[in-house]
């Protein structure tokens, strides 16, 4: 292969990896939010993502809404479902100061429950979103870009920017950061911890709903779509559990490595190699990219 051709193919694969990274980053950041405050891996985030995706689909199909209102509905519904999950599943464990393993088991159970609810209402068959973006792709300098992935990247950046600003400058954001540092002390300082936890779940659910709608539009809609949360979890581990920024970087790294491995050794071997790399990475740097220790966390 000529050098210029190799470069072009390599560039295309990097673009493929980065755009896939945008998908994983949205999932990972929503996942990291809850970990930040309650210190457990919240797999119910996948169920919230799936529910948001289906509700956004209903809005697009029956209300015939354009892209932005559908995204907003997905976010709102995701937020509300996440708050519901927190109220039903996690609040009593938190009040009783339950062990972290209870949170973890409950979160997996909630993922399965939400999936099954989707199966009951929509069946296990798959659906496709109506066309919401007319132009699907374009070419620039020999590299092909998919419009939906670019939209996803833009939306991810906007969401992360807003989140970073809100966490740093708003009263609620500061309270969430305080809660993520020490929930008990924050409570002693007079902050309504129940409200902070609920707000954290709402923001995390909004990101889940947003990623659900975007994933549903980019791929197809099926009840197990929420299982993509595993990619978010891996990204969080790579990035350093507990760090929202680390989760985004972890997602990007995971996607680029994944695409590169598929290109080099094929789709059959790449999942095994990714897990092997993850194990090796954690042996060398257990705190992830961001350097936040995750010891004592489930």
């Amino acid at each position: 292969m000529e050098a210029s051709q190799f470069l072009s193919v390599a560039m295309q694969q990097i673009v493929n990896g980065i755009s896939l990274g945008a998908v994983y980053a949205l999932i990972a950041v929503g996942f990291a939010m809850v970990f930040n405050v309650l210190k457990f891996s919240n797999f119910s985030h996948g169920g919230v993502l799936g529910t948001g995706a289906y509700l956004g689909y209903l809005a697009a199909l029956y209300l015939k809404l354009p892209l932005i209102p559908v995204l907003l509905i997905g976010m709102l519904m995701g937020g509300l479902v996440a708050v519901g999950v927190e109220f039903v599943a996690f609040r009593s464990i938190r009040k009783k100061r339950g062990q972290l393993v209870y949170f973890f088991v409950t979160s997996v159970t909630m993922l399965m429950l939400l999936e099954q609810i989707l199966v009951i209402f929509f069946g296990a068959s798959f659906f496709t979103y109506p066309t919401m973006i007319r132009t699907t792709s374009f070419s620039l300098g020999g590299i092909n870009f998919t419009v939906l992935y670019l939209v996803m990247m833009a939306v991810s950046l906007l969401a992360f920017g807003t989140l970073a600003w809100a966490l740093k400058y708003t009263k609620l954001g500061i309270a969430i950061r305080a809660a993520s540092n020490d929930l008990t002390t924050t409570n002693l300082m007079g902050v309504n911890v129940d409200f902070i936890v609920m707000a954290t779940f709402f923001v995390s659910g909004m990101l889940g709903g947003l990623s659900g709608v975007l994933l549903g539009m980019t791929y197809t809609l099926y009840p197990q779509i929420g299982q993509l949360v595993v990619k978010g979890f891996i990204a969080c581990v790579l990035g350093g559990l507990g760090s929202v920024t680390g989760a985004a970087w972890g997602a990007l790294a995971l996607a680029v490595v994944e695409v590169s491995l598929i290109a080099i050794m094929g789709a059959g071997l790449s999942p095994a190699v990714i897990f092997a790399i993850m194990v090796a990475f954690l042996l060398v740097r257990p705190q992830g990219f961001a350097g936040v220790s995750f010891q004592e966390k489930a």
């Binding site: 896939l20 199966v119 069946g123 296990a124 066309t131 699907t136 998919t146 099926y222």
Partner: protein, 391 residues
């Protein structure tokens, strides 16, 4: 008192007569099992197979049934899971006591059911195209397994024949799900036919069932610069492979399988992504002879008939004819008797053509296939083909 006793006795006799007659009527039913995906990702295929067979049975029942016996289908949903299909088959044989079973159009399930049917001795006739579902590794047929549409080999060789002889294509790439027996069973005969007839495979890329993004594989395929890409996949994968090929600016001819209607035309797929795609199909949708059935089907179920609905009708016909022949030998035909009669199916006038089952393979012989192309967002029939080795 005597009169009262007499009256009670008469009432009891009358009740016994009524219920006795009822019991006899129930015994006069022919119970047919049905194992289909009725709610999972392949429910479009499962429902179509079931509906087609049910419509044939309705016609026979309306005309008095088979020797006066009505056909009754007992259905179980597999949800696209192999273990569910195995449980359903066992339940149908052991509890429901059906005499024959309509099998699923899913290769993995057909392959899993074949050895179990050897033990249960209740024949299954279905649309599992993978040849391993009907013949053993030594080439002999599984005793109780029958196929009611063209096999994956026939389908793959038909599209390969068209690509090589008519489209004169030489360089091919492959993109398929390596975890799906159906996709794998389509790829192997396609590659064999193409390479034996002067073609070359310049790229072979696979993906896993859970994967949704195939752009890494498609970028490699684009780099190999094939004239055509063969992408024989399941419904949920078809829109994604087409859209992502299009997004990467791939100009090669796309060759598909018989699931491309209606899934290549999904709402989230750019119409330009599926334009010009070629794929084989078991029926000619523009055939006026099929239009009456299609209209009745759509009126009854509220959605259009796909190829599996027509195969389901033919499958129903093969069951009824086998039962009629078996009844001449026995009042209550055994699974062995029905299997033997299914293997003798000859020239049943089905929608797929003259439907004959080969006793050597338990698969149909010489069924026609059609090559369709998506033109202007609609499938258009181009040509009718029977690969020479399928005659």
């Amino acid at each position: 008192m005597k009169k009262l006793s007499l009256l009670v006795a008469m009432v009891i006799i009358a009740l016994l007569a009524v219920f006795g007659a009822g019991g006899a009527a129930a015994a006069e039913e022919i119970l047919v099992g049905n194992i289909q995906d009725l709610s999972g990702p392949n429910k479009a295929f499962g429902l179509a197979t079931f509906n087609g067979a049910q419509m044939y049975f309705d016609k026979i029942n309306a005309a008095g049934g088979v020797n006066g016996m009505k056909l009754k289908i007992i259905s179980y949903d597999t949800k696209s899971e192999v273990n569910e299909a195995i449980s359903a088959y066992r339940r149908l044989c052991d509890l429901d006591k059906v005499s024959i079973v309509i099998g699923p159009p899913i290769a993995n399930m057909g392959i899993a059911l074949a050895p179990i049917a050897e033990g249960k001795k209740i024949p299954i006739i279905g649309l599992y195209m993978d040849e391993r579902a009907t013949t053993k590794p030594d080439g002999k047929p599984w005793t109780y397994m029958f196929l009611a549409q063209n096999s994956s080999g026939a389908q793959a060789r038909t599209i390969a024949l068209y690509a090589v002889k008519d489209l004169k294509l030489k360089k091919y790439a492959l993109l398929y799900n390596q975890q799906n027996a159906y996709s794998v069973s389509l790829v192997e005969p396609f590659v064999a036919y193409v390479t034996e007839n002067g073609g070359t495979i310049v790229a072979k890329e696979t993906f896993m069932t859970a994967d949704k993004d195939y752009r890494a594989q498609l970028t490699k395929i684009k780099q190999a610069n094939p004239e055509a890409i063969y992408m024989p996949n399941y419904p949920q994968e078809i829109p994604l492979t087409l859209q992502q090929s299009f997004d990467l600016g791939i100009k090669a001819t796309i060759l598909g399988n018989n699931s491309y209607i209606p899934f290549a035309l999904a709402s989230n797929t750019d119409p330009k992504a599926s334009e010009g795609v070629y794929f084989p199909y078991g029926i000619d949708p523009s055939d006026p002879k099929l239009k009456e059935f299609s209209a009745q089907y759509e009126k009854k179920f509220g959605y259009p008939a796909i190829t599996q609905a027509f195969s389901g009708w033919d499958l129903g016909g093969a069951i009824v004819e086998a039962y009629q022949r078996a009844l001449t030998a026995s009042k209550k035909p055994s699974g062995d008797g029905l299997a033997a009669e299914l293997a003798k199916t000859r020239d049943f006038p089905g929608f797929q053509g003259a439907f004959t089952i080969s006793p050597k393979t338990h698969r149909p012989l010489g069924l026609t296939m059609y090559i369709l192309q998506v033109k202007g967002g609609k499938p258009v029939t181009l040509i009718k083909l029977i690969p020479p080795e399928e005659k």
